[in-house]
């Protein structure tokens, strides 16, 4: 029976392995390998140049360091403030105040519809001429605060950040599910011991859901490391590169047919991802089995 099964096992694994090979493994090797080449079409070039692409990125490319900084700042904001926002809401909702279910579902809606739709909505909300934000400022007599939010160097970065920062429904859903799955008798016992609700949150509930918060932090970091569509649609990375991040810069480099250079940016994305994940795992003790 064993021998007959080996064929079946191979057959069952084959499709997954083939697709993994095509879309992950081969591309991953190509990213690392071609990052060492001057590789472009028109004129067709494929020449080994060692680490020159990376040296160029870090020392000569005036765009790269600001783009890297934006990416890192956005990851930090998302991992800390965005997750905190979602967690605070989860800690409010697990006590089941009136309307908690409605809030949970409603707050999730922006996370369900596509990023590109949210981006389009904000492109209009921020519109200088008819956008809701400027209209609101005008209505309450604060016309001097009006801006062309997405296209003004002073406001573009925070304006773009807001398009994803405020929608923490994902975090709320996950942390809330974890809160609700904890044994209620623990909370009851703490109440009987005279703990205030803030003490229960901080000393009982928080340690219980800490790992789930760690998971949402990882998801937040991944989300920001992959962020592309919302920037592409709202500002296209501008003005200048003030709202560009690594994936957007990689995309523009690919479109400029400069593949070797684009892939050296890909390597940087993979390294930034690796460092971020290691840091988060350490911080939340995610690798410890318990």
């Amino acid at each position: 029976m064993k021998q007959r099964n080996t064929g079946w096992i191979a057959l069952f694994l084959a499709p997954t392995c083939i697709i993994f090979l095509l879309i992950f493994a081969i591309p991953l090797v190509m990213v690392f390998a071609t990052s060492l080449f001057d590789y472009r079409l028109l004129p067709r070039t494929f020449e080994f140049i060692g680490f020159s692409n990376f040296i160029k990125l870090f020392t000569q490319d005036a765009k790269f360091l600001p783009v890297l900084k934006n990416t890192v700042v956005w990851i930090a904001i998302h991992c800390v403030l965005h997750v905190a926002l979602g967690t605070v809401l989860a800690f409010i909702l697990y006590k089941k105040p009136h309307g908690w279910k409605f809030v949970r579902v409603t707050y999730m809606i922006p996370n369900i519809i596509s990023q590109s739709a949210i981006a389009m909505i904000f492109l209009n909300l921020y519109n200088a001429q008819y956008g809701a934000l400027n209209s609101l400022l005008k209505a309450i007599g604060l016309e001097h605060l009006q801006h062309n939010w997405l296209f003004d160097t002073a406001t573009a970065f925070p304006a773009v950040t807001m398009t994803w920062f405020i929608f923490a429904g994902y975090t709320t859903t996950l942390v809330l599910a974890q809160c609700l799955s904890t044994d209620e008798s623990i909370i009851e016992a703490a109440k009987i011991d005279g703990a205030t609700s803030f003490q229960i949150d901080r000393l009982v509930m928080f340690p219980l859901v800490k790992r789930m918060i760690g998971t949402t932090v990882i998801m937040a970091a991944t989300y920001m490391l992959q962020m592309f569509s919302m920037i592409y649609i709202t500002t296209g990375g501008g003005p200048g590169v003030s709202t560009a991040n690594l994936p957007l810069y990689l995309y523009t480099t690919v479109k400029a047919n400069n593949y070797g250079y684009a892939n050296s940016i890909g390597v940087v994305i993979i390294i930034v991802g690796f460092i971020t994940m290691t840091l988060i795992n350490r911080l939340f003790g995610m690798n410890k089995e318990d």
Binding site: T16, I23, N124, P247, L250, A262
Partner: protein, 281 residues
Amino acid sequence: MTHFKLSPKQKAARVFSYLFMALCVLVALFPIVWVVLSSFKTNREILSNGLQLPSTFSFSGYKQALEMAPILKFFVNSLIVSFASTALNVFILAMAGYVFAKKKFRFKNLIFGILSLSMVIPSTALMSPVYTVITKLHLYDTKMALILVYTALNMPISLMILRSAFAAIPTELEEAAYIDGAGFFRTFWQVMMPCAKGGLASAAVLAFLGSWNEFTFALLLTSSTSTRTLPLSLSYFTSQFSFNYTAMFAAITIAVLPSIIVFSIFQEQVCSSLTAGSVKG
């Protein structure tokens, strides 16, 4: 809680809680409601005051949007790509997940370890070589390219969910099927698959959402109306509808509403899938 008298501090906490909840609801709903309301306004109304309610409810914006851009075509493309990639993803990863959960074979941990790599690689880093691979396969600007890439992008999470779904099924059940004379495939298809329904549903929901909303690779790998998907169509509207704001707002509404309706119906399933995905991922 209401049985006790509230101290001022508790009262303040309660007021804060409700204010915070209200703010979250406002933040989530205002942008969408504003877009939907604006889709009923005339161009002049939109330009004169962005916050005014529409004077009449006219659907002409919707009619124009459907005439100006092939929204329905994009919508159908999205449906085809999302359904196909979800079906393919769940089917092949159920097979792999089953084998990883229930079978012993050589190099099992090694293969699983390598496949797990897909979880830690940001897919955006692979944009350029994925483009090359798809072009080499002569799949550029085809729905098949998107189906293939989306099947792969949703692979890590499906693998985790389905492996633990199959691991949770008692092995006795599988052995009983063997004793009754069912072969490898029949045991998998008729005995194991029905038992893993919960995991299959979770994986399918996540894969579908991922494919339905994906933008980056769709932009990179397609170029014509016959293959482009709904998320891309929205950015197409900006140029197409440059001065017809009513139609643009209508187009956004058309793109957004189906997701909201489907989510409202299946929200319990969607939320539990998300939770399953995070615990296992």
